[in-house]
Symmetry: C2
Subunit: 103 residues, 2 copies
């Protein structure tokens, strides 16, 4: 057993991406952000669908159609493959823990 | 966008199982318990692997080898297919929200 809030460093100069499960069928990833936006330039344009939930902190996702969605604790979203998006803001006060399921 | 903690009734006479995503490759399910154990008799003996995380409350899972694992907020566990298990306790004070990924 592990805890999703464990092993979060006090300094987070760069976003942290960690696989929890990685099989052919799906990948479960923990992402920890603190003030970062990503990717640095352009958009995420992914081969896989992504279901993502914010477990602490908050983040704002922008889509290429201009929609901006702010996610706080417990908010979740399904991003279909090739739906271009980026993270334009995350909390600077506390770590934002995202759980992302790629499938 | 939805929130995993929304639409939790104040009375939970039976556990609530709801699909969030259901495709051929995976199923994401929210389970809400309040004091229940499950299944009523016997064990869960599943065809699929299950990755499960507790998002509020707590629950205790027993395995057929006698191991008992207590999960509180943020604790997660991978249960492989056909690993017999059951939930022997959940919080009676507050709803326990489980997020389960079957793959």
């Amino acid at each position: 057993m592990s805890n999703i809030f464990n092993n979060i460093p006090s300094d987070i100069p760069n976003e942290i991406f960690e696989d929890i499960i990685n099989t052919k069928k799906l990948r479960i990833e923990r992402i920890v952000s603190k003030g970062q936006s990503s990717p640095e330039t352009g958009w995420y344009d992914q081969e896989e669908n992504e279901w993502v939930i914010v477990l602490s902190g908050f983040g704002v996702i922008e889509f290429s159609n201009g929609n901006k969605i702010s996610l706080k604790q417990g908010d979740y979203l399904n991003i279909t493959a090739h739906e271009k998006h980026k993270v334009i803001a995350t909390s600077t006060d506390e770590p934002t823990v995202w759980l992302a399921i790629f499938y």
